[in-house]
Structure formats: structure tokens, C-alpha cells
Amino acid sequence: MIHRLLAVLSLAFFIGNAVNAEPFVQGGPIGSQTSDGYNALGPVVQQPIEFPHYRHARDMGINCMYCHTGARRGYVSAIPRIDKCIGCHQNIESVRNKPRIKKLFEYWDKKEPIPWKKVNDLPDYVRFNHERHIQRFYFRQNRPVREVCGYCHGDVANMTVDRRVKALSMGWCISCHQKDHKESDTNMKTSHGPGECWQCHK
């Protein structure tokens, strides 16, 4: 009886992942897990507007932080304010009648926020500080922005709607915190990320 239960549980587990599968394998093969048991690849999330990250970040070469302005100065990278989207798009006539842009302007006209779904959602007891990471790796080490953001978010510049491609689990965080990282692009001294509980658990 118990064995049958286990079989059903594990089957459901794998089917669930197979349904959500996408043809790219960043973070490990589909259904694979990191050492602490978290899925390396997150599910596909349906967003109110199918935002094309590839168009902005890859084709246009826009820096991630042009829109995610909080990343360099706050805990959260922040979903762009809507007037930011409109600021550019009111001047880009060529795409003004595309369905996704029309939808954007519908929200703007109603002065309503777009109800995006959170893709990278950490547990409530974890505080991840974007500023610390961006200041260290982007500004001090002078690494390319797609690489720095990509440490945790994967190659978003090749995605349409964002999808979680790294585990974002504690074990996964620590695996990077234990590595030696250069202090800056000119200072060859290395240090690793903090290991104290309270740095993330507040």
C-alpha cells in the first residue's frame, strides 16, 4: 500500500515537471535538482503581458538596470514603473499597434499597475540584497551586466517572459558564497561571500 503511494507521488512529481518543460537547459537538465533538493528549473509563468526580454536586452542591447533601477541601490531590483515603459514607447510609433504594446497603453490609460506574477520569489524569511551583488560584481569588478545578473537569473536576454533557471535555494547560494571572488577589476585580492546566518535571515 505504502509503496503504491510512493510510486504515485514520484510519478506526479516528474510529470509535473515534464509538462512545464522548455527546450533550454540552463541550470541543469529538466527535472534535475540541486544538492539541497530544489528544482534547478522553475515552471513557466503566464504573465499579463508576454514581455519580450530578448527584444530589449539582446536586440536593443539595453542594460538590465535601465529598467530594473532598484538593483543598484536597493534590496529589490524592482519591476519598472509603468511611466518608464511609456516614456520610451510613446515615441516608438512603429510598434504602437502591436497587441502587447496596446495592452500596455490600456493599463497606462487606466493608471493601473500591471499585475505581474513574481518569478523569483524567495521565502519570506530570506532577504536578498541586490545592491550588494550589483555593486560588487558589476561596478567594482566591471563584469558585463548580462553576466552579473545572469549568475542568478540565467540568460534572460534570450528569453521572452522570464523563467527561473537557477535553484535560488540556500545550498545554491552558499555554493557561490564559498568561492573566492576578486575584490575589483584592479584589486587581485579575493574574498568570499558572508556565511553568517543573519546576513540573509532577518
Binding site: L9, G74, I82, D83, W116, K117, K118, N120, D121
Partner: protein, 738 residues
């Protein structure tokens, strides 16, 4: 294997394998998830808004009447924490626990979110249009109500909302503004008025070397605890000032004193006259007061004083010697002195010491004179409750509005206020959460909390100049069906004076115009618009006003206190001390979980009421901690747990105020007992105020017992280790030092 077919080992296996997926069903977000939560971006925020970073906005704390300037930490449009506003001279950038709990008033799960109307004996939700239509019908111009038939009862008020309330009453032709505070300073004001000619002198703790406080819990409650705590810190800096506290039950201030002297409640004035007698024998002081006062106080010799007050006779001379030695000093009186039949005389007798010692003008002088009498504070009184209660009982009122007061909870049961209130045909309450009074009303209107609303406040204790503290919303209203009290008042005024008020569509514009009118008084050089935004961003308007001149007028008639001990009623041998807790006050904040959870500073008890009883008295009656006692006065009985407490006079029993709610939401309802209810009809004889500390009670063991929930460990045993070395008072020879 168990009957269900799963044994423990298999069960653990299932947990181990399925654990990560099962965890999703747990409480809160404990897993890494995608697509479960929404993340709403700002549409068109202010330029300085960075998601995740906090912004501070200045406002005013309205949790008590001190009107401290505060800052609210706001993130993503939500107020998260209150801090002090460094620009406010009252708060000096600090805040107390009661102020911190303002966010719990805002996010209280039992907040009233829509108007309620009494239908068939119970409150039912209605829309605002229906509620306002009913207001119009019952009190509008066509209702035919005249000013005499209408009453407006509020708590202590100041600022421009007070002006609007007054204007509304004027439009009705009514003079019935009843300002009621259960713990009002009215007796203190009356005594100060007699002596100094002002309601409240300004106290300079930092200039005093010795403070003798007769029952004034200035660190915990009263005029301005945050300000006085800062002043007290200055007073205690080197050279360290000495604090002596004389009171029947140890308050937080008493616990901080160098010497705490327990005294029979109500006899503090006699003790003060005893000290005055000793001082006046000294040639240095003999000329300080008229000769009739010298001859009057001569009858208060140490032995007589000792027999009346229960304080050892040598302490009288000792305190006189200390006062002589440590000059300048400051002598103050507080609630437990003033809440007696001869409360004013008690307070005057205590102020006499300041006169004799030459403190007037040194450690005590006049506050600044506010140039704006219209917005000046009205601190309230019990007399207001008495007149409104008499009016209601006599069927005088056709309608009553109640805002900022909960008389059904705070009125003693002998007044029969609940029944009298029921006689009023139309009763309206303006509240954040339904309380005992709102339960009785026909219409209950949900108003903004202090962190959602505009306003202006003037405190009745002003440390420097006159500070008008500005209140601005720290966040958008949380519930769409709540309204600003100011907006409602403006609508009501417009019922009769639409033309005069048509320039102001809402309270915001009214307040803005009114505040800009203050501009000439502060000599602000820039435009009106700049002045308004400057005022909001700084949170305070400092008006440099001239100081009030204070006199020092004493006569023998003001001091005539009984020279014999008060007669005892053997049926009620104990003095009841209804103590004011620094975060509960009169009980209006009992629905804040943080305040319930905060341990009482002296007993560490949480979420409950208790009766403090001296260990020796308890021993003689066979009472142990946690035993249920029946504390009875002529007007009622409370059943409450005993707490053995050495910081109380052996003949007194103390029950904290603020608990014992029958309403006010899940955190307040049914917690503890309400000592307001058993107070006897004893009144201060010159002001008519209720003598809060004048009730006698009997104490009886019921035989039941329950654990007292408290934070303190076994104090006397110190966990079996000598953590703090203590000495008995006689070994320490305290009297040689202080």
C-alpha cells in the same frame, strides 16, 4: 504495523521523499516559488521612490495628548514603523511604546471598515450615502433640532479639527461641546490656576538638583512622558540629580527614584505641609510665606504627620534637610495626589514647598503664551461627562455625537451612563474600531486612523515656545469605505453654512488655508505654497511666543488639610489605587497586541489584569500569587488575580486601568477587569472632578487560583545564583545618603 497499515518508519519515509512538495501547503511562503504571488509595479510614483527603500514622512502621534512630532517609515506605500521627529521640541526625535503601536491601530484586524447602522438591535453595514442621509434627517436643517437638544462629546482636542467642531456647534446654535478625558489633568490645572495663575507651569528638570515627586509618574504617563524622559536623562547626568518619589503604589517613575516612600493615599498634602513646617522653622525660609501660613503649618508637626500619612516621623525632617541642602529643587504633584476629595489642597500644599524653597522662577516658570486661542488645547475633564450624563438622563438631548471618547467603558457604574445614553434617540459614534460606546450607538461611522489623515495639534505642555505639530497621511487609506473626520465635519458644517465654507471642498484644503494663515506669526519669508510644504515636510511649526508670567499666590485657606487621620470604614479597609499604565492609559489602546504583549514594567505581567497587594498584607490574609480575589467597593466587585508586590502601601490595593473591555475587538475583549466600574461617587470638592483614588474596597479570597502570566523569573532567589547583590535597606543605611 499499526491498524491503518502505515507504521512509523514508513511514515517518515514518505515525509522524507515528499517533504519538499508537502512544504508548499505549510503556512507562509517557506519555499522558492514562481508565479504564485503578484508583484505590482508603481504606475507613476514620485521621483524619489525606490522600491525596497523607505521614505520618512513627518507627522504627529495622536496616541495620547502629548502631540509628539513623529516620522513614519513608509515603504511601497505602507507605513511600517514610527520614529520620533528630531525637529519636534516635544518628542526631541524620540518616541514611546504607545506611539510605536500607532501602526497596530492602522492594521488592526478589528478595524471598522464601513458605516454601520443599528437595525433591530444590532449594527448592520450600510453605505455612506445612507449613513449621511440619516445624519441629515436627524440633525440637518430640516430636522428641527435646536442647539440645546444636541450634544457633541469628544476626547481632548486641539488644532483645526477642534475649530471645525466648534463651528459646527455654532452653526447649530449649540454650546454643548463636552470634552471628556477619563484621566484628565483638570484638578492639577485648577490647583496651578489658583497658585500660579496658569494651567500648567513649565518644569525645568535639568536645572534642579533634587526632584521630589508626589505621585507624579512623569516618565510613564501624564503631560508629556517622552519629553520628560529626555529631561530626566539630563537631570541624571553628572552631577547626578536626586529623585525622591512619595506615592501609595510604585509607578515607573517611583521605580527609578533614589528613594521611594510609600504613603497612605490622599495624605501627601499633609506630608508636604509637615515638610514645610520644618523648613519654615529655619530662618532662611521663615520670611518666604505670609505669617498666617507659617502659623497654619505649625500644627503639622512630625508626629501628627506620621500618624496621618503612615510615614515614619523622622523622614519629614530628613526630606526637609535634603531640600535645604540640594537647591535648587523641584517639587511636583501627580494624579494619585490629585484624585481625592481635597485634591486641589493636596496639590497646593505640595506647590507651597516650591514657594518656600524659592524654586518659582528657577526650576519652574511659565509656558509660552499661544497666540492662537482657537486651536489651543482643551484637555478635558470629568465634569463634562457628568453634565452630559445628567443631560442624557433628563432626556435633554435628541442627538449626540461621540468622537475620541469611550464613556461607556470609562464611566463608573454608579453613573448609569449606558442606560442614560440609551435614552438619547439618535447617537452617532466616529471610531476606528467598534468600542463599548459605539455598540450603543445608532450610527457608527468609520474614520481614518491618525496615519491616514491630515490634522494639526497643539499640546497642553509646551517645553519651548509654542509648537504646532502637523499631521499628514503616511499612507493612502487602507479601506475605501472609511472617511476623514475632518471631511465629515466639513460636510456637517456645510449643512447650514454652505456659502461660508464653499471655498473648501475637503478638510485638506481647509487645513491648508488655515495653516497658511499662521504664516505671519512665524515670519516666514517665502510664498504661501512653500510655507505649506515646508510645514508638512518638517512636521512642526515653531511659534516664538512670549512667556506667560506666573504668580505665586498662596493663602492659608487654600491649604487647610485635615489634621486627623481619615475615618476608616471597617467594611472597606483597603484604599483602591487604580493605576494608570503607561501604554494603556484609559484603555483606548487595549486592542493593540503589542501593548498587551508588552510586560508591565514593574510586575512583568502580560495580557491580563491583576491586583497588587503588599506581601505582608497577603501573608496575614493567607493570599498567594495567583489567588483570585474579590475586590469590592460599594459599587461593584471585580474578580482578579493577586500579585504580591512590595512596592505598594500595605493598606492599599492596586488594579491597573485599561483592561476589562466588553468590545473593541479580539485583543481587548474579555481580557482582565475594568476598575473604572467599581469607583465610588467621591468627588474633588472644589472642581467636582471624580476622585479616582478615593474609593475604599474590601478584599476577599475566593479560593480559586491560576498562574499569573509574567516575564519575571524568581526575583528573590535570582535563579539560585547571586546575579545582583542586594542589601536590606537598614543594612545599606540609605537614610544616611538619601
Amino acid at each position: 504495523m499499526s491498524e491503518s497499515g502505515i507504521n512509523r518508519r514508513d511514515f517518515l519515509k514518505v515525509l522524507g521523499l515528499g517533504g519538499s512538495s508537502l512544504a508548499l501547503t505549510g503556512c507562509g511562503n517557506t519555499d522558492i516559488r514562481s508565479g504564485d504571488e503578484l508583484i505590482m509595479p508603481n504606475v507613476h510614483p514620485e521621483d524619489f521612490v525606490v522600491p525596497g527603500l523607505s521614505v520618512f514622512y513627518a507627522s504627529t502621534c495622536t496616541q495620547c495628548g502629548s502631540a509628539c512630532g513623529v516620522m513614519g517609515r513608509v515603504r511601497e506605500g505602507r507605513v511600517l514603523k514610527m520614529e520620533g521627529n528630531p525637529e519636534s521640541k516635544i518628542s526631541g526625535g524620540k518616541i514611546c511604546g504607545l506611539g510605536q503601536a500607532a501602526v497596530q491601530v492602522q492594521y488592526n484586524p478589528d478595524r471598522l471598515t464601513q458605516p454601520m447602522m443599528k437595525v433591530g438591535g444590532s449594527l448592520q453595514p450600510v453605505g455612506w450615502d445612507k449613513a449621511m442621509a440619516l445624519l441629515e434627517e436627524k440633525t440637518g436643517p430640516r430636522s428641527g433640532i435646536n442647539g440645546e437638544e444636541f450634544a457633541f462629546m469628544t476626547g481632548a482636542m486641539s488644532g483645526h479639527l477642534k475649530v471645525l467642531v466648534q463651528n459646527y456647534l455654532d452653526s447649530l446654535g449649540s454650546k454643548n461641546h463636552f470634552v471628556y478625558e477619563a484621566l484628565s489633568p483638570a484638578v492639577s490645572f485648577a490647583a496651578n490656576k489658583q497658585v500660579y495663575g496658569v494651567d500648567m507651569p513649565r518644569l525645568h528638570f535639568d536645572k534642579a538638583k533634587l526632584i521630589v515627586s508626589f505621585g507624579s509618574d512623569f516618565l510613564g504617563t501624564g503631560a508629556s512622558p517622552v519629553h520628560f524622559a529626555a529631561e530626566y536623562a539630563k537631570f541624571r547626568k553628572a552631577p547626578r540629580g536626586t529623585l525622591i518619589q512619595i506615592e501609595p503604589k510604585m509607578t515607573m517613575t517611583g521605580a527609578n527614584a533614589d528613594r521611594w516612600i510609600p504613603i497612605i493615599p490622599g495624605t501627601e498634602g499633609v506630608f508636604a505641609l509637615g515638610v514645610a513646617n520644618q523648613l519654615l522653622k529655619h530662618e532662611e525660609f521663615a520670611q518666604s510665606v505670609p505669617s498666617d501660613i507659617v502659623s497654619l503649618v505649625a500644627k503639622y508637626d512630625p508626629e501628627t504627620v506620621s500618624s496621618i500619612t503612615g510615614v515614619r516621623s523622622e523622614l519629614v525632617g530628613h526630606l526637609a534637610a535634603l531640600l535645604w541642602e540640594k537647591s535648587p529643587s523641584l517639587v511636583i504633584s501627580g494624579a494619585s495626589v490629585e484624585g481625592h476629595t481635597h485634591g486641589v489642597q493636596n496639590a497646593v500644599a505640595i506647590q507651597l514647598l516650591n514657594k518656600i524653597l524659592g524654586n518659582v522662577g528657577k526650576t519652574l516658570d511659565g509656558q509660552a503664551q499661544s497666540p492662537f486661542p482657537q486651536i489651543a488645547p482643551n484637555a478635558g475633564s470629568f465634569a463634562a461627562l457628568k453634565s452630559v450624563n445628567d443631560g442624557m438622563g433628563g432626556g435633554k438631548f435628541k442627538a449626540i455625537f461621540i468622537y475620541g471618547a469611550n464613556p461607556v467603558f470609562t464611566a463608573p457604574s454608579f453613573m448609569g451612563l449606558r442606560d442614560n445614553l440609551r435614552k438619547v434617540p439618535f447617537k452617532v459614534a466616529f471610531v476606528n474600531a467598534v468600542d463599548e460606546t459605539a455598540e450603543e450607538c445608532d450610527l457608527v461611522l468609520p474614520i481614518y486612523t491618525a496615519v491616514e489623515d491630515f490634522g494639526s495639534h497643539v499640546a497642553w505642555y509646551q517645553p519651548e515656545g509654542v509648537e504646532i505639530t502637523m499631521q499628514q497621511p503616511l499612507m493612502e487609506k487602507l479601506y475605501s469605505d472609511t472617511r476623514s473626520m475632518g471631511d465629515i465635519m466639513l460636510d456637517l458644517v456645510k449643512q447650514r453654512r454652505a456659502d461660508e465654507y464653499k471655498a473648501w471642498p475637503d478638510f485638506f484644503t481647509y487645513l491648508k488655508t488655515a495653516v497658511i494663515n499662521i504664516k505671519p506669526a512665524v515670519k516666514y519669508a517665502d510664498t504661501d505654497e512653500h510655507f505649506w510644504y515646508d510645514t508638512l515636510s518638517h512636521g512642526v511649526i515653531q511659534v516664538d511666543a512670549p512667556q506667560q508670567q506666573i504668580g505665586s499666590n498662596f493663602s492659608a485657606a487654600m491649604l487647610d488639610l485635615p489634621v486627623t487621620a481619615e475615618a476608616q470604614d471597617p467594611k472597606f479597609p483597603f484604599y483602591l489605587v487604580p493605576s494608570e499604565r503607561h501604554y494603556f492609559r484609559d484603555g483606548r489602546h487595549a486592542n493593540c497586541g503589542w501593548l498587551q504583549e508588552s510586560p508591565d514594567p514593574l510586575t512583568t505581567i502580560v495580557w491580563d489584569s491583576w491586583a497588587e497587594i503588599h506581601p505582608k498584607t497577603a501573608e496575614s490574609m493567607g493570599i498567594k500569587e495567583g489567588d483570585y480575589l474579590e475586590v469590592s467597593s460599594q459599587n461593584g466587585t471585580l474578580k482578579v488575580k493577586a500579585y504580591l508586590f512590595p512596592g505598594i502601601h500595605p493598606d492599599a490595593i492596586s488594579i491597573p486601568l485599561g483592561q476589562g473591555h466588553e468590545s473593541l475587538g479580539r485583543f481587548a475583549k474579555g481580557v482582565g477587569v475594568n476598575p473604572f466600574k467599581i469607583l465610588n461617587p467621591v468627588f474633588e470638592k472644589s472642581t467636582g472632578e471624580l476622585a479616582m483614588y478615593g474609593t475604599r474596597v474590601s478584599v476577599k479570597k475566593t479560593g480559586e487560583s491560576e498562574i499569573v502570566v509574567k516575564d519575571e523569573g524568581p526575583v528573590s532567589t535570582q535563579m539560585g545564583r547571586k546575579l545582583v547583590v542586594t542589601l536590606p535597606a537598614d543594612v545599606a543605611q540609605l537614610s544616611k545618603e538619601i
